[in-house]
Amino acid sequence: MSARRLRMIALEALRILLLGAGAVVMLAPFVWMVATSLKSPSEIFAAGFSLWPEDFNAYANYARAFTEVPMLRFLLNGVIVCTGILFFQIVTAVPCAYALAKLGFRGGTIVFGMVLVGLMIPSHVPAIPLYLAFANLGLLNTYWALIIPSAVSVFAIFLFRQFFRSVPDDLINAARVDGLSEFSIVWRIVVPTAWPAITAFSIFSVVANWNDLFWPLIVLTDTALATPPLGILFFRDQEAGSDYGALMAGTTIITAPLVIVFLLAQRRFIEGITLSGVKG
C-alpha cells in the first residue's frame, strides 16, 4: 500500500516537473518582455541575464512608448474599431438568425446556404475588391475602412441560429399574443435567452479584430488611425529601433488589455476563442 502511494507521489512529481518545464517555455516571452521593459539600455546590452533590473528604468521606457508614438491612441483605435465591428455584427446577425431559426420565409434556404458558403471563405479572400471599393470611395485611412468589411459575420448568424432554434416556440407565440412585433420579439424576448452565445461570440470577435494585422496593413498608412498591432509595428520600425526597453514597454502595453481580460474571465474567454473551432 505504501509502495503504491510512493509511486503515485513520484508520478505526480514527474507530472509537475514536465508541465512546469513546458510552462516556463510558454511563459518565457511574457516574463522576458516585462522584465526587459523595466531595464536600462546598458543592462539590456550587457552579457548575462537577470530577471529583476538592477537599475530600474521602467519610467523612462514606458514614457518613451507613450510619447514617441500615440500609444494611447492605438489602444483607443482598437477599442473604437472592435466596438464598431461588434455592434454591426450583432445588429445584423441577430435578426437574420432569428428569421432563419423561427420564421419560414421564401429565400430562407438560400440565405442559409450563403451563410454556409461564407463560413468556408477566409477573410483574406475578398480583400482585393474591397480595397478597390474603399479606394474609389475615398475611404482608405478611415475607421469605416476598418469596420465595414467586418460588419457582417456569417459565423455569428450560424451560431445564433443554432442557439435560437432551442428557444421554445410557446415563448414567442405568447409574446405575439401580447401584441409584440417580430422586431421587439427578437430584441426583448429572444436575445435575453441567448446571452451565453452572444457573450462567447463577442469575445471571439473582439480578440480576432484586436489582433488582426492583414486588413489594417492594407487600408491604413496614417499612423494616427493604427490599430494596436499596426501601432507596435510603427513603433518598432520608426521610433524604437534598438531601444529594446522602450519597445518591450510598448508590446507590454499592447498585449496587456486582452491578457488582463483573459485572466479575469478565463472560462468565458476560452469558450469564446475555441468557438472558432467551427470557423478557424
Binding site: 509537475i16 419560414g104 475588391p129 457582417v152 432551442s166 498591432p229 473551432g277
Partner: protein, 321 residues
C-alpha cells in the same frame, strides 16, 4: 467489457443542439404571411451585407484572376488562365507554396502532439490544473504581432535570451531569423508556441467527454497501469477529437501571415515566403491585382479542400463521440 470501439457513443453533448425545437408553423394564412414578411425584413440587412462584402467580392476575385488588371490601371484585358500559367513558372510562388506546406507540415504534428501530451498531463492529476491551463493558453490570448516582436528580441543573435542561454552551455547560437535554412523552422516554432494552448483546450474538452465508467470497466479487465488505460480507453475514445484538432490546426497554420509580415517579410531571399504573404505583396505592394487575385484563388482552393475534410470530420465526431 472494455471494448474500446468509439461507436459506444457516450457523450451526447454535441447532439443536444441537434434536437432543436420543431419549426414554428403558426396556423392561419394571415399569420403565416406576416411571418414571411417579417422574416424577409429581418434577414435583409445581413443578406445584403453578405452579398456586398463576402460573396460578391469573392466572385469578383475569381473574375479578376482572369485579367491582367493592376490597381490604378484605366483598362484591363481578359487573359484567360495566363495568370495561373505565370504562377506555374514563378519561382517565388513555388517557393511560397512549398514553404507554406512545410510550415503546416511542421506546426501541425508538433503542436497537436505537444497539446495532447499537455492535456493528458493536466488531466492526469489534481495539483495545478488551473494554473497550467492558464499558462499554456496565455499565448493564444495575446496579440501575436506584439509577441512576435518579443520573439524577435529573444532570438536576437547577440542580445537575445535564447542564444545567451545557449552560450551558457557552450553553444554558439545561430542567427535564427536570417539563416536561410533555419528561418522557416523558427517561424514554425512561434506558430507551435501560439497554437499549443488552443489545441490543448480542444483535447481537454475531448478528455472530459470520456465517461468514467469506461475506465472502471478497463480496470476490471486488468488495465491498471496508466499506459494501459490510455491505450484501451483514452486513445480510441479521443480519435475523433484528434482528427478534428489535426484538421483545424492545418487550416489555421495554412493562413500564416502575421509572423512573416512582422519578422521576415518573406526573407532572406524568399526563404520564408508563404502563400498569404506573397498574395499580400503582389496585390498591395506591387499592385498587381490580377495576379494577386489568382494567388487568392489558389489560397482559397487549399482552404476549401481542408474545410471539406473538416466538415467530414465534424460529421464523424457528431456520430461517434
Amino acid at each position: 467489457m472494455a471494448d474500446p470501439a468509439p461507436a459506444i457513443s457516450a457523450a451526447p453533448a454535441k447532439q443536444v443542439s441537434k434536437q432543436a425545437a420543431p419549426r414554428n408553423e403558426p396556423s392561419g394564412g394571415k399569420a403565416r404571411l406576416r411571418d414571411r414578411l417579417a422574416g424577409i425584413a429581418l434577414a435583409t440587412p445581413a443578406t445584403a451585407l453578405m452579398l456586398a462584402l463576402l460573396i460578391g467580392p469573392t466572385l469578383a476575385v475569381g473574375f479578376l484572376s482572369l485579367t491582367d488588371w493592376g490597381f490604378g490601371a484605366r483598362s484591363f484585358a481578359f487573359i484567360g488562365l495566363d495568370n495561373y500559367a505565370e504562377m506555374a513558372g514563378d519561382p517565388v510562388f513555388r517557393r511560397s507554396l512549398i514553404n507554406t506546406l512545410v510550415y503546416v507540415g511542421v506546426v501541425m504534428p508538433v503542436s497537436v502532439a505537444l497539446a495532447l501530451a499537455v492535456a493528458l498531463l493536466i488531466q492526469g492529476g489534481r495539483f495545478g490544473r488551473t494554473f497550467f491551463r492558464t499558462a499554456y493558453f496565455l499565448p493564444v490570448a495575446s496579440t501575436l504581432v506584439a509577441m512576435a516582436t518579443v520573439w524577435q528580441f529573444m532570438l536576437h543573435p547577440n542580445l537575445g535570451l535564447v542564444n545567451e542561454m545557449l552560450r551558457l552551455v557552450g553553444l554558439a547560437g545561430p542567427n535564427w531569423l536570417t539563416d536561410r535554412g533555419l528561418v522557416l523552422f523558427t517561424l514554425a516554432w512561434i506558430g507551435i508556441w501560439e497554437t499549443i494552448g488552443y489545441n490543448m483546450i480542444l483535447f481537454l474538452a475531448g478528455l472530459m467527454a470520456i465517461p468514467g465508467h469506461l475506465y472502471e470497466a478497463a480496470e476490471v479487465d486488468g488495465a491498471h497501469r496508466p499506459l494501459d488505460k490510455f491505450l484501451t480507453v483514452t486513445w480510441p475514445m479521443l480519435g475523433p477529437t484528434t482528427l478534428f484538432v489535426i484538421v483545424i490546426t492545418a487550416i489555421r497554420s495554412f493562413r500564416v501571415f502575421e509572423s512573416v509580415a512582422v519578422l521576415t517579410q518573406g526573407g532572406p531571399g524568399n526563404a520564408s515566403q508563404v502563400l498569404l504573404f506573397t498574395m499580400y505583396r503582389e496585390s498591395f505592394v506591387y499592385f498587381r491585382a490580377g495576379y494577386g487575385a489568382a494567388l487568392t484563388i489558389v489560397f482559397l482552393a487549399f482552404i476549401l479542400i481542408l474545410t471539406l475534410i473538416q466538415i467530414r470530420v465534424i460529421d464523424r465526431r457528431v456520430h461517434y463521440a
